[in-house]
């Protein structure tokens, strides 16, 4: 990992912790952004953590960009040595894979796709060496995921799967971005899953849809009354495959204000996780299931 600093004009500093994605890079980015927040440097206006990088927006009328750069660089060594631990939560997100709405959309944009003769999930399964879509879904929903970034548009989470490199799923983005994506589509691009928080343009492959809103500017959804965005970086997610009946029942519960996302508070330790990922993930799931 080699950290690279650059100015984004006169109001931003962009810090690339690593060119490639890894949990180590994510944790270093997270601890550096936490350090920036705690050090309360005058002039900082936005602190935005991303997957393997982060960005600080500042007011150059308050602090010279060179001085801001020095302040941020001075936090790097300490952040590197910091314990990679996190008090967070694990959340179960229901996913109706291969639903009719993303299917209709992906058929409409077939000429923008690498493989016009298959669906997005068939294509993803095949290029990642799975013989069936069911096997692929089992892998996608098998191990949990870190929310490694929130952004693009309102409250949209990027998720990175908590498995070692050989088990990582990788897919390209559409050849040309779509002009439409159904709201709450579970998508995939590069090594990241995402949930489209609102309807709109998008370039990620589309695998399914969740019945659970994750952004509500009106704050009417029962679990979004305190804040309109559901996710923050560091959340852990476990996908739960559901069928049409369960999807419909969940949607009805959301509409009735009765839907309660299943979740549990957990602490995460990167070193322990790296020692034995499978059993660490199993422990996280036990917490979710209340054991």
């Amino acid at each position: 990992m080699k950290t690279r600093y650059s100015f984004g004009g006169d109001e931003h500093i962009f810090v690339e912790v690593d060119e490639e994605m890894s949990l180590n890079a994510f944790f270093k980015s997270l601890s550096m952004t936490n350090a920036v927040r705690e050090s309360q440097i005058k002039g900082v206006t936005e602190i935005c953590p991303a997957n393997a990088s982060f960005q600080i927006k500042f007011d150059p009328d308050v602090i010279h960009p060179d001085d801001m750069l020095k302040e941020i660089k001075s936090l790097e060594t300490a952040a590197e040595k910091a314990d990679s631990t996190l008090n967070t939560r694990i959340v179960e997100i229901p996913v109706y894979y291969q639903d009719p709405w993303t299917h209709e959309t992906l058929m409409r944009f077939r000429e923008r796709h690498q493989d016009p003769n298959s669906t997005d999930i068939e294509y993803a399964a095949s290029i990642n060496g799975f013989s069936t879509v069911d096997d692929f879904i089992a892998a996608h929903s098998g191990a949990p995921w870190f929310v490694s970034m929130v952004g693009f548009v309102s409250g949209l989470p990027f998720l990175y799967q908590m498995v070692d490199r050989p088990r990582q799923i990788e897919v390209p983005k559409y050849l040309r971005p779509r002009t439409d994506t159904p709201k709450l589509t579970v998508g995939y691009g590069g090594c990241f899953s995402c949930i489209y928080s609102v309807r709109g343009a998008g370039g990620y492959q589309m695998f399914g849809v969740t019945p659970m809103p994750i952004f509500d500017p009106k704050q009417e959804t029962s679990y979004l009354k305190d804040f309109m965005c559901f996710f923050t970086p560091g959340d852990i997610v476990k996908w739960k495959p559901i069928d049409r009946d369960e999807y419909d029942a969940n949607v009805a519960d959301v509409d009735a204000g009765k839907f309660v996302p299943r979740m549990a508070d957990v602490s995460f330790d990167l070193a322990e996780f790296n020692t034995d990922m499978n059993s660490y993930n199993a422990k996280l799931e036990e917490a979710l299931n209340g054991h």
Binding site: D10, M21, S53, Q55, F152, G155
Partner: protein
């Protein structure tokens, strides 16, 4: 006390100076694309510079005022009419209850800013009244204004006629428009030749130009420095591991058409950026029409900071002129 919308125009939104502090959740700052014009319009009608007004793009709205007030229109050159009678831009206009403000066709620039004394007083969301339509936030139910809307205003009569921003203090893009750029971010991804071409070529604003970003076309395609794509970045040489985007940053998907992100920017994504338009020139982008010839001009940080100081000084002169 308020405004009845007879005709909304093309995409007229309520904006103020924006909603900082939520970019880490993908909620951009929003607010007036041309903040200078918004501030000037507010000053003319005696408001705080950050009061909410209307931003109208390419086509003006038709508005009826339900109480006596003062109105000002700054920004693009679009003939202004009060009950059919032509009135001057960059000036305060006394309006009687029941009078109707309308506009003729746009001459130059792209966006007008309409301030009304007392400001537009729709509820604030996350500390701002700015409309962010993609997230359905702010403004009127998170959308552009529509015919039949009644917009509430602060409702004082304001200073009336007679105030104006001197002509030499107004700001408009040149032809070709010049946008100053600080190279950086992922500049190293393109070859030296591609970097030179970017600044040499004349670009034109593409039709895909809105509050989220301005696309340009007409320059030569870019060549990338060869590399094995890093894990997680995706296969196209213009892809990076998804990261944060700066306001004003210039991404070039596929190496063909640069996109400059503006006030309703997406907060991140997987395309490399070659640099950033300096903060002092962001307002100018809001006044560019499609097909406007444009040049990107390479500058260093000290030039960017001096330009920013110049902008502040200009604003101070407007404040002094209207004091």
């Amino acid at each position: 006390m308020g405004i009845k919308v007879h005709n909304p125009g093309l995409a007229t939104t309520i904006q103020d100076l924006g909603r900082p502090g939520y970019f880490h959740l993908g909620i951009p700052i929003s607010g007036a694309m041309d903040r200078f014009a918004m501030r000037a319009a507010n000053m003319l009608v005696g408001n705080d510079e950050g009061a909410a007004g209307l931003e109208a793009v390419f086509m003006g709205p038709e508005l009826e005022f339900t109480s006596d007030c003062t109105v000002a229109v700054c920004g693009a050159d679009m003939p202004i009419k009060l009950d059919g009678e032509e009135r001057a831009g960059w000036s305060s206009i006394a309006v009687k209850a029941g009078q109707v403000l309308s506009f003729d066709f746009l001459k130059t620039g792209a966006r007008i800013y309409i301030a009304v004394s007392g400001g537009i007083t729709v509820p604030e969301y996350l500390g701002s009244r700015s409309t962010y339509a993609i997230g359905a936030l702010g403004g009127v139910d998170g959308r552009p204004i529509a015919a039949g809307d009644d917009l509430p205003t602060g409702g004082d009569a304001g200073p009336g006629d007679g105030r104006g921003v001197p002509e030499n203090l107004r700001r408009a893009p040149g032809n070709p428009a010049e946008l100053r750029v600080l190279p950086g971010l992922y500049w190293h991804r393109i070859t030296d030749q591609a970097g030179r071409n970017f600044f040499e070529d004349e670009w034109k604003v593409a039709p895909e130009a809105d509050r989220m970003g301005y696309r340009f076309r007409g320059g030569r395609p870019m060549e990338f420095v060869e590399r094995k794509q890093p894990f997680g970045a995706g296969s196209d040489p213009s892809n990076i591991v998804d990261g944060c985007y700066s306001y004003g940053s210039i991404q070039v998907p596929g190496g063909t058409e640069p996109i400059v992100l503006h006030r309703d920017a997406v907060s991140g994504g997987g395309y490399f950026m070659l640099g950033t338009v300096i903060s002092a020139d962001m307002d100018l982008i809001g006044q560019l029409q499609p097909h406007t010839p444009s040049k990107f001009v390479k500058v260093d940080m000290e030039t960017a900071l001096q330009a920013r100081r110049d902008r502040h000084a200009l604003l101070d002169q407007v404040r002094a002129a209207l004091d």
